[in-house]
Amino acid sequence: MWKTILRRVLLMIPQIIILSLFVFLMASAMPGDPFTGLITPDMDPATIERLREAAGLNNPWYIRYWDWIVNAIQGDFGKSFTYKIPVSEVIGQRVGNTIWLSIVSLVFTYLLAIPLGMFAGRYNGSWGDKAISFYNYFSFAIPTFVFALLLIWIFGFNLGWFPTRGTVQTGVAPGTFAYVWSRIYHLILPALSYALLATTSTIQYLRTGVIDAKQEDYVKTARSKGVPENKVYNKHIFRNSILPIASFIGYDITGLIGGSIFIERIFSFPGMGRLFIDSLLARDYSVITALILLFGLTALFGTLLSDIIMSIVDPRIRIE
């Protein structure tokens, strides 16, 4: 298996190179450049031109690409045009927030989706099932930002249960317990807004999975052994119907690092989603390319991870 993984990783290299080239071309195609945003009457146009020249933006794209890829291979993704610090640092500041938010969101998503999906599958056709599927459609129909605003309005402002913005209470010293708690506390509402809407596919998959698995012979075998009904569901049916979800975990991992613009914006949560869009809008090329490579890599690793997880969950699957 390790060999297979290594082989897959090696195969990612050409994919990443093509991706980077593609991104570079796309970036060049975008109107404007990182310095368009500097236009103000206070600004000397010559200064902008000087900066452009210094940044090499007046070079043809292939020269810029070459320079970039040579540095990138050495782990240097350049400096952010916007933030004036190395791209790795910019990303480093955000990625932690996003990963935490994503993890908590994922946990919430599964905490919600798995019982609901199991219930809907077990009692399919019941009123509970119908209610769950209504919830599913509701969450499918409502845009994230509307929902996040609704939640923040209810739980943040009206009820005052949760903080409404940021990742941590300002002024709490890092490293203390209060700090950790504050971070967690700040995660709950954004994670919930995300999770409540993200359950749709998991519930659906689980539900159909359970309905299918219910009919299987091994379930009969389990019952004929005298395994109590709850155990039959939790042990036999659950594991078998979780397979399609396991195949999506890889994509969730990808989402883990991509962040959610809407949530981040509404909760003033500095994360990767915002960073990406801001960089796009500001034409911060170095951040854009680095981010896309990062997303691309995580996507590729995500699929690999999915395959590994699948092969762990399901002994019949061998990754080749």
Binding site: K220, E229, R316
Partner: protein, 336 residues
């Protein structure tokens, strides 16, 4: 054979499935007994209700879609009245079940030992180690070489024969006095089938369990069963000891069935046409519910030959036949 109280006694059992808004009995007023140390074979056409009978005994039907009435008496308990919790104590512990398709009967995601162990968890107070030992013992018992290794493997890594042995090991794990085997060898080839049947025989010698063996392979019946019940359209139409049934079959269905076996061929010449029962198997919904249910498939037998409400007649000691038509039956074309 029957001394004292039978191990299992089934009286007037009905199992109806719901199709749309009505219930249709797949098992229709079946009564039979199972003795200790006995192999009772149930044969019959596909769809005649054999599996339904088995799953009713072990209580695997979804109450929402089935209607069950009658008695399944085991140790003075009517099983069909039991609630889930009580039934779960019986299942696996007192009744073991062997299913037909060995691959689908095993959970693909669990190791062999986990699956065998499961029944022990719920029915015994064994420690983990004791259970492990018991699993190895069982695997050994069903003739699996190298049980220690196999027990850690997954079903898909085993051959069909091995899997079927595992299924048997599961059924045997708690040494149940009753074992129901629903077509345990249909998916296997003859050599392995033979081994499995020998295994069942040997095990019975050991545990004296009563076995209900469901099959449509009359060869298997002839080689293993003590008693045979022939089912047709949800009813038992004939019941006798194996010897008696094969030497003196009475019910038209039994006779037709025996006739359609391709075997007594002359190796030299052209083999003759096999006997075919006229008509097709009616669906559950369209089963004849009155009179002799086999009558439509032997239309040349005059109506008067059939009973209006066919009952089982004990024509010889321990040989029961339903409907009087057997007395008048002859194969088509044959002289009466």
């Amino acid at each position: 054979m029957s001394t004292g109280k039978p191990l299992l006694e089934i009286n007037h059992l009905h199992t109806g499935f719901r199709i749309k808004d009505n219930y249709y009995d797949a098992v229709d007023d079946v009564s039979l007994t199972l003795e200790k140390n006995e192999i009772l074979a149930i044969v019959g056409e596909s769809g005649s209700g054999k599996s339904t009978l088995a799953t009713t005994i072990i209580g695997l039907h979804n109450k929402a879609n089935t209607k069950i009435s009658g008695e399944v008496l085991y140790q003075d308990l009517n099983l069909i009245d039991l609630n889930e919790t009580l039934y779960n104590r019986i299942r696996g512990n007192d009744i073991g079940m062997i299913f037909q398709d060995p691959l689908s009967a095993l959970n693909p995601l669990m190791t062999i030992s986990d699956q065998i162990e499961e029944a022990l968890i719920y029915h015994t107070k064994m420690s983990a180690q004791e259970r492990k030992d018991r699993v190895l013992e069982l695997l050994n018992q069903v003739g699996i070489p190298n049980p220690a290794r196999i027990s850690k493997q997954y079903p898909h890594e085993l051959s069909g024969g091995m899997r079927q042995r595992v299924v048997i090991a599961i059924a045997l794990s708690c040494k149940p006095p009753i074992i129901i085997a629903d077509e345990p060898t249909t998916a296997l080839d003859v050599t392995i089938q033979a081994q499995i049947l020998d295994l069942l025989n040997d095990l019975q010698d050991e545990t004296e369990a009563g076995i209900i063996l469901i099959t449509h392979d009359l060869g298997v019946v002839a080689e293993t069963a003590d008693r045979v019940a022939v089912m047709y359209a949800g009813e038992i139409v004939e019941m006798a000891t194996a010897e008696e049934l094969f030497t003196n079959p009475r019910h038209p269905y039994t006779r037709s069935l025996l006739n359609s076996i391709p075997q007594s061929e002359d190796l030299e010449g052209e083999s003759e046409e096999l006997h075919v029962i006229q008509g097709t198997v009616p669906s559950l919904k369209n089963l004849p519910r009155t009179g002799c249910r086999f009558a439509p498939r032997i239309p040349w037998v005059p109506k008067e030959a059939h009973e209006a409400n066919p009952t089982l007649h004990e024509i010889l000691p321990n040989h029961f036949v339903r409907c009087t038509c057997h007395e008048h039956f002859h194969f088509e074309g044959e002289a009466e």
